[in-house]
Symmetry: C2
Subunit: 492 residues, 2 copies
Amino acid sequence: MGKNLTSREQDYSKWYNELVVKADLAENSAVRGCMVIKPYGYAIWEKMQTELDRMFKETGHQNAYFPLFVPKSLFEAEEKNAEGFAKECAVVTHYRLKNDEDNKGKLIVDPAAKLEEELVVRPTSEAVIWNTYKNWIQSYRDLPILVNQWANVVRWEMRTRLFLRTSEFLWQEGHTAHATKQEALAETKQMNDIYAEFAENFMATPVIKGAKTENERFAGAEETYCIEALMQDGKALQAGTSHFLGQNFAKAFDVKFATKEGGLEHVWATSWGVSTRLMGALIMTHSDDKGLVLPPKLAPIQVVIVPIYKTDEQLDQISEVANQLVKDLRTKGISVKFDNRDTQKPGWKFAQYELQGVPVRLAIGPKDLEKGTVELARRDTLTKEFVEMNGVVDKISALMEEIQEALFTKAKNYRDEHITEVNSFDEFKEVLKKKGGFIAAHWDGTSETENRIKELTKATIRCVPFDRQEEDGACVLTGNPSKGRVLFAKAY
Amino acid sequence: MGKNLTSREQDYSKWYNELVVKADLAENSAVRGCMVIKPYGYAIWEKMQTELDRMFKETGHQNAYFPLFVPKSLFEAEEKNAEGFAKECAVVTHYRLKNDEDNKGKLIVDPAAKLEEELVVRPTSEAVIWNTYKNWIQSYRDLPILVNQWANVVRWEMRTRLFLRTSEFLWQEGHTAHATKQEALAETKQMNDIYAEFAENFMATPVIKGAKTENERFAGAEETYCIEALMQDGKALQAGTSHFLGQNFAKAFDVKFATKEGGLEHVWATSWGVSTRLMGALIMTHSDDKGLVLPPKLAPIQVVIVPIYKTDEQLDQISEVANQLVKDLRTKGISVKFDNRDTQKPGWKFAQYELQGVPVRLAIGPKDLEKGTVELARRDTLTKEFVEMNGVVDKISALMEEIQEALFTKAKNYRDEHITEVNSFDEFKEVLKKKGGFIAAHWDGTSETENRIKELTKATIRCVPFDRQEEDGACVLTGNPSKGRVLFAKAY
């Protein structure tokens, strides 16, 4: 396997694809637009799942599971939602294959096994879930319902890219039901905050929290909150969304509850999700031309130990020290691999673990044993140093936090340097072209202007940041009045 | 909600369905044959997943994820496998819906969006996975591959029952690739042993390990090992299977590897799976006419505390004691819920937790506070006693193990009492009719006889037990020679 990657400068998009495949994260499959998530990539996703699942449960949510299929009549019940997803959905029409009598050994769809009603493979589960909630909710005592689902969904994307946009992807989708608008809005906000916390504390990916404009909202939502991250090529990536659905789904599926006061009202809803797309965000936030760079908190292997030896006797001596180190590191909760395979040379292993983003690499040779040292290499800075074996466990333990923080700081500095305020459309276009990143500009609040800017520049409004300053200004395109800046960017 | 269940004696099947729904485990959905797994049921499944996943990883397996869809050409590549699943598969034929111009607001399948090649929703993933392994395997150095996937699968079942047989279900499917037949056979056995260990140690469900006859084998397998459990109605339930696939899939997908010796050989394969069907086995092994009975190791709530009070002051006093108890129990790793809701009466709560199978219930009233006691009720034996508050934590801690063991022993006694050796076909039929359970009988080893017995009695050969005694005998139907007894039963 050739380990050298195309550099980011040469071809960013090619660099990304090569990295994903060569670092054993994922690959394309025989099924158009669907990927195989390989064990190493899946191990990172599992770490993400574990942390997110814990955060959901700590805020009172429970997991459940709803059907993969949505009967067409349910799918079309909430009109905007249906409109948003109808164009890209996989449809099951038959439930049997039969032998092709004209072509022995081949199977064909059995026309006698046509479904009475077509089934849509879920692109999202609001329809099937609200049709279920209808039976779960009678009175205010049944509320709130705080449910999450880990599942696969299918959206028939025409142009796909590993992790970033695939026809099938894995995600979690929370679906909650509330007695009041206020409570549903608070839930929408809470979950967006949880996503931000996860992105920053675990992925070491700084994000901006804000609201989507009407154009960019989830189909069927009244508000979409989001977290927006910035990739190294200056493009934004929407990393998570949380939707306030108002009473739209409750009305579409006739879900009412008896209030404490004896009335009958439609239920308020939210939904929120993050997906395997986060893997793309993680990769593109930190990685370099040598390969993946992983924050320690999400690294399946945090430390790798490579023995440098010529004789079996040397390997035995090194192994003794290495095995003790493995034990000590594990006691500290650090995941460590001792790679004593004799089928590969140390240089090959070094390159491999660099490619796979293992945060810390230790190399131990006969001279180290003599001197009581070990060579420690940091993946994020690509620096090496000899350290005393004595105390190396504490050093590594501290280094895990240090690396986690360093990655976040570096990404945050990059991101902050790439938020540019502009006050004219010429400036807008120039910054977008030469520098990229987020452009903070005044906008007149109309979809028309937003669409026009998109046509002219391919930049979209990523969000109206929650923490923006109120500020009178003139729309960068129309000159019409604006109350504050929004963030534009080209986006994944 | 009416809590009274139909009794098992009255109508076992109805009892089961009512229990599943009323205990909040699962319910039918709007999608034919597909279920909704409700939060309480899903929490049990999550506990199962956690333990199984740990056992898989401890034996060197890694998780990965493969596409939901199988292109028809891959699906039909392994002929026997295709034949086995073609009759009951969901087929995606289109990738878009469009507005029905004759019927405003309705959607129809867009005929312009017909797929060139139909996609089968995976009923099992051998085809898609072996098509992938083809690219992963070149030499003996790439072997073994030890991969597992947690996923949903779809088999278009005509008669469905919650958890036991549903069109969509959740499962794990292990798919391994090996250099030798011996190694693949050892893996097949190891995974069947892990399933048995899980069933007995966690589900408290005794199982018999054995091999399936050719008739009952997985489509495409050369050997199917299984674990067979016995339900309270005398019917057997296949709880897990592990397949030795020989080189069938390697041949169908042309997967060869360079041997150490410089040859080129087809790879050896196994696959193994357990599904949400285990939920059905768990329910039917232990539960009674009051509802679910859960072994402590899989109970989402192991202990529930119910306060008995009339005044707010009493509730405050009880809460103080209860909250301390909650803390102490959690320190011991016991999951506990203090149900201080004032919307429900104690009697309602008692019935609810009985229905949901919480292993231990504590009730604390004002008199208990005076006396320093607490009322402790065991779900499995339906017994109650007053115990000293002092030391109750240790008592409960010990009780968790005691209940776990008691459930296993009870189920094992029942199972052992329901293995009957018979030596004539009349006896066979009588035992099957009057007693049920496993019938240990001689069989001449032919599919013909097996089929005939099935036609005559609806009993099938559940397995050829691994631990059966070699014993010369005469087939119970034909009188032809047999080398040992096999186990027949009616089965789920």
